[in-house]
Symmetry: C2
């Protein structure tokens, strides 16, 4: 039980989930950042065995024709051996040639269909490449420690990336902490072992790994098996339908395989180390936390936190007090978390150090209503409920209020956070049609969890989990209460005392002592520890028989009790308050993943005026844009530069981040350069009294006086007005000097 609880803890790691634990049965579908649905679907298709796609038919046809070709070859050889007539042999050869041509043609078709199937993937990869090239060239990110050949899974944010991240975090703080009056905390990354022992991370936060037996190089066991299966399916044209089904089945259950099963498959398929072809060790678990030692003695093991949530849980008591001993309240934390991945893949999506923004909303388990739910109830967006997933249907667009009313979403508070998260992500620039909230399937959820939803964003890697929203019941606070012996509980004082029926068990210590001597204490404890059902059963037994057998686990034996040894009754008592462990609803945001998806959603290309070049554009909303505005003197000229400096000063005063570009480059080139950074507005100085403001995506321009320009830019970047609004207010400007 405890083991399952501990491992289930990791079900909440929407952001970067561990994989390959011994508890994959719970973990199914969620190991990968990529949505579980694809795997549900492929499992279903593979196991149902009824779906025969064109590819499967082609595969069959290739195999059939291959067999026929072989037979015909045998035939030719037989004719030759039997010294048949020249004509008969020639006929047979001609037939063989024709059959070979047919085989070639079907093989070609299969090949082209296979590469077409992964062709979608290819064009996605090309798109991803284009985005990533731009991101890296413009220093949105930089592989860390590049001059020392880098470290896999570690990335720096360069200047524009850093600004984007700061904007996302500032908006998160505004949208959640400030607007919801949350209690923000900031805890260290270095965490002593005892805390992560209580949370279950020390024992269960693992991936399965294999080692190259000669070089010691490490690989994730499931990665190797996955690569093998995919490669076979894509490149081996002669796979039998049974083999195809088998490989697909393996891919579908990959996350559920035990260390033993994974090891057996690796052996069966003869998979070796990819770099050296050396044999591999059996798979074994590797803990994904970075270990360290606190202080100089070597006696205080510690880890870099794998999530920020634990820092909140251990502070519950103080935070509850700070909130006037009242529920509900939410605490929040933004900070670094660490995961020592075995072999990081998927670029910026799976990294070894990342920023999390986590909320723990503590609530009375008996009342999960939310006073502000009505503010989000009318939002309509894609929900992908358990039912739709199991029925292999698509996500449906539904009113949030309806989803909660129908019970699809467990409660108002969870629903409220889903709604607020929808608003948060779309305000930043996530496309509404490429965002869905997917409910965890029953077997994905911890047994104690009431309900879990992931905000999934579609990008070139598929549907990526970027926010996890889970109602985790009282699990975490209870785990720390148990380990620390500090009760992390809440009190509810009743307006009037309540009458409660209470079980009263009174062992007769004297009689027990006489009968059982030194075992008396153990028996007394066992009696007092009985559940209500056990006690009532014992009472009935004693009353009917006068005596009853009673099992004492701590003694490892069953004793016989008589009626006089214990009194069991139910009494009405007055209670003034209730002490309980609060439930926690936990929205957890992977800041880096959200940012990466934003990059993909905002990226597009457009041809230069001459049509000979493709320009990259990031259509960041002003809220997100790393720089809000650029200032360009149209030509190199002292007067314009002075005006530009003047404007720069007023922009700084207004708190608008901006950049001056006084290079003599053509204005079109300068626009293109900043479009690529996602700068929404460009001020071009072409006189000393008035200037133009150009909007990035429409390329429209308006003419505004030098005095007004900073306040107009402030208005449109801070959201008081839209570009549409100011377009009405100011004269538009057209000139052949604009975008080349």
């Amino acid at each position: 039980m405890h083991l399952i609880q501990a491992s289930s803890r990791f079900l909440k790691f929407a952001i970067q989930k561990p994989s390959g634990t011994r508890f994959q049965i719970l973990n199914r579908l969620i190991r990968n950042p990529i949505s579980g649905f694809e795997r549900v679907y492929s499992t279903a298709a593979a196991t149902m065995g009824t779906v025969e796609t064109d590819v499967e038919l082609l595969r069959k046809s290739v195999i059939e024709k291959q067999n026929i070709v072989e037979k015909q070859g045998d035939e030719v050889r037989a004719l030759k051996a039997s010294k048949a007539s020249k004509e008969a042999i020639e006929n047979a050869i001609n037939q063989l040639k024709e059959l070979k041509l047919e085989l070639q043609s079907v093989s070609k078709e299969l090949q082209s269909r296979l590469s077409e199937d992964s062709g979608g993937a290819m064009s996605k990869e090309a798109f991803r490449q284009a985005v990533n090239n731009t991101l890296e060239r413009r220093l949105f990110y930089i592989p860390s420690f590049k001059i020392y050949r880098g470290v896999a899974g570690l990335y720096d944010y360069g200047p524009p990336g850093c600004a984007v991240k700061a904007n996302v975090i500032a908006f998160w703080r505004q949208h959640y902490v400030l607007e919801e009056n949350m209690l923000e905390v900031d805890c260290p990354c270095v965490t002593p072992e005892v805390v992560l022992k209580a949370s279950g991370h020390v024992d269960k936060f693992t991936d399965l790994m294999v080692k190259d037996e000669k070089t010691g190089m490490c690989y994730r066991a499931d990665h190797l098996l996955k690569d093998y299966c995919k490669d076979k399916l894509e490149k081996d044209l002669l796979l039998s339908p049974e083999k195809v089904n088998e490989l697909k089945q393996v891919l579908a259950v990959l996350d559920e395989l035990s260390a033993e099963a994974l090891g057996a498959k690796i052996k069966e398929y003869g998979i070796t180390a990819p770099d050296t072809k050396n044999p591999l060790s059996d798979p074994y678990p590797f803990n994904l936390m970075f270990a360290t030692s606190i202080g100089p003695s070597g006696l205080s093991p510690g880890y870099l936190r794998p999530e920020t949530a634990q820092g909140i849980f251990v502070n519950f008591k103080d935070l509850y007090y700070y909130n006037g001993n009242k529920l509900p309240f939410a605490a929040a934390q933004i900070g670094q978390a660490f995961r020592n991945e075995i072999s990081p893949r998927q670029g910026l999506l799976r990294v070894r150090e990342f920023t999390l923004a986590e909320i723990e909303h503590f609530v009375n388990p008996d009342d999960k209503s939310h006073p502000k739910f009505k503010n989000v109830a009318d939002l309509e967006f894609f929900l992908y409920s358990r039912e739709e997933q199991m029925a292999l249907k698509s996500p449906i667009k539904i009113r949030l209020g309806e989803a909660v009313a129908k019970g699809t979403i467990n409660n108002e508070t969870l629903g409220y956070f889903i709604g607020r998260t929808y608003l948060f992500l779309t305000a930043l620039g996530i496309h509404k049609e490429r965002l869905r909230f997917r409910q965890h399937l029953q077997n994905e959820m911890a047994h104690y969890a009431a309900d879990c939803w992931d905000a999934e964003i579609e990008c070139s890697y598929g549907w990526v989990e970027c926010v996890g929203l889970a109602d985790r019941s009282a699990y975490d606070l209870k785990a720390h209460t148990e380990k620390s012996a500090v009760p992390l509980v809440a009190h509810e004082t009743y307006p009037e005392p309540r009458e409660v029926e209470k079980l009263v068990i009174t062992p007769a210590k004297r009689e027990l002592g006489l009968a059982f001597k030194k075992n008396q204490k153990m028996i007394v404890e066992a009696l007092e520890a009985m559940s209500e059902a056990e006690a009532m059963e014992l009472k009935a037994h004693l009353e009917s028989e006068g005596k009853a057998p009673f099992q004492v686990c701590t003694l490892g034996q069953t004793v016989t009790l008589t009626k006089d040894m214990v009194s069991i009754s139910k009494e009405i008592k007055k209670e003034h308050q209730r002490v309980f462990t609060p439930s926690v609803i936990e929205p957890s945001f992977g800041v880096g993943r959200i940012i990466y998806c934003l990059y993909e959603h905002c990226f597009y290309t457009r041809p230069s005026k001459a049509g000979d070049e493709q320009y990259n554009v990031f259509s960041f909303p002003p809220l997100l844009a790393p720089i809000k505005c650029t200032v360009f003197p149209l030509v190199q000229n002292e007067k314009y530069e002075v005006t530009a400096q003047l404007i720069s000063k007023s922009l700084t005063g207004a708190g608008i981040s901006h950049k001056i570009d006084i290079t003599g480059t053509s204005i079109g080139k300068r626009y293109a350069r900043t479009d690529e950074l996602g700068v929404p507005f460009a001020i071009t100085v072409d006189s000393e009294t008035s200037v133009t403001i150009r909007e990035r995506d429409s390329k429209e321009q308006i003419r505004v006086s030098v005095e007004e320009v900073a306040s107009v830019v402030k208005e449109v970047t801070e959201g008081q007005s839209t570009w549409g609004d100011v377009l009405w207010r100011y004269p538009t400007h057209t000139t052949n000097t604009a975008d080349d």
Copy 2:
């Protein structure tokens, strides 16, 4: 040479300096967060030996009187032994009694003077206790993992502390990154060994440690010696003047002692483990970085970064390119840094994990002027130059422009950052009179450093280094260039090619080969590596004598060269560009230390109206305040609550962090509660149309309409108006319901 450079690297750690390295001679005075000056002063006083304070005179007197008492005791015993007359004996005894009384009285005075001397410290400690009690009770900070009995040197920021920290960081970003157009980066905490090997941290970032030989408990060697000396000086009344001098001398040179010298002193004084009295090991260096392992192989050692600066240096090439290959430019980083202290002391000042905000301003070493220096030149504040320190004078208030013009501050860029730092700290609420910029003494600075200044803030711990501002020349970029083999250099293209006189050394390889056979190559290399001066000296020697001795280090011998073996000349060459390693000027901010000093500077108490209680107040400026404003319905009443909610909504809309308190507590108590959190403004709702705004420190109130109140609060919190301004505009309000 390289060793000194590496160790000198640590001279820049103004924020948390390592101590006890083997290079203390360079490190003198700066190991402790407390300013070096006190130690300069006490060293001087101790060694000059001319200052005889009252305490010293009293000590002498105690010893003299003790001697006299002993003599008189001998006298009495002698009289008794010689069977002297009863009268003579009684006289002697009476005299002895009188002498003892005298001794008692002088001892008492010394005792009281000693505790008075530390009495200043005591009252400082009482003040610190009061501040810290308030901070901890109101959750500005919380010892981390408290329910598990905590970890020394790790602290959480609770809700108000977290808000204060976010405000400091946001202002830093505005004041430096935005206003100065800096390139912000964000690099991981986990750092591979090679980077910190290049920077010198792996080899030199150590403190000296001793171990309890039985329990293995660790202590900082210098701490134990320091405690011993201080304790002796405070409590041992019979210390001889020589011993007093010796102990003071030890305290003064504590930071300069080698492991051997420290060990010898510990042995000499018989110092044992404080907790067990067990014997101690010899002191040995302990590296202060948290070590970990990257990836699963165990073959990639890594550390948690001890500073953020290295992440900037390794990215120099990309950042220079991003800046259009132009100097100067500055890069900045805000992030966590880690230091595995042996035994953290001094509460929030010396912690194991902390936030740094660092700037690396890269500049052409030949031109350190700054175009905006004129904007800060007229600032006047306390500078504590090397000269004043050496002359045992006090810091002087001086115009920044004058200090740079006189050469006290090495250059305009360094001066500019000092000025901007003064503005930054005072805007946050640091008292001008308790802030000074102290120049490093020559022996504190690395040999390559051009100039270093620390912003020191006075608090209950003394003068604390909170910002280090160093002109580090080209050291860091050169170290990484050497280790990574990636040239981290800048290019300066001359507008027109320049004629440069160049030294040309042409070894005659044939002649050298004939003469020196296999040593020829080494000699050629040594010739080519000569400095200009060496070459010109050799040339002169060869020309006058026809031959010359030449030392070849790599061969370990001196050979004799003849005139035909090398030609040395100076030639005029045309150069189109210059390639050079930029200098770096580095302002480095210890965010946690600044925040702690702000707490102390802003804290005061005032009596309640009844005079029976002391209320705590944090006089945070609005910029810094964790919550800008509270909203209090005067009495519990639905109408007022609705109005309060309405105001809350408009405050949220205006982006003003605030809190509603609808408890029925007296308004005075509610004011007191929020004064203690440093909330600058309180809105009290006593009607549905207009409300009052109270200013925290003056307790003055104005009456404002409900519609206007949010915008008025926004004005005064964002600094468009002062409280004084709005006090004129709106009617003041007096009522007996205000502060009790």
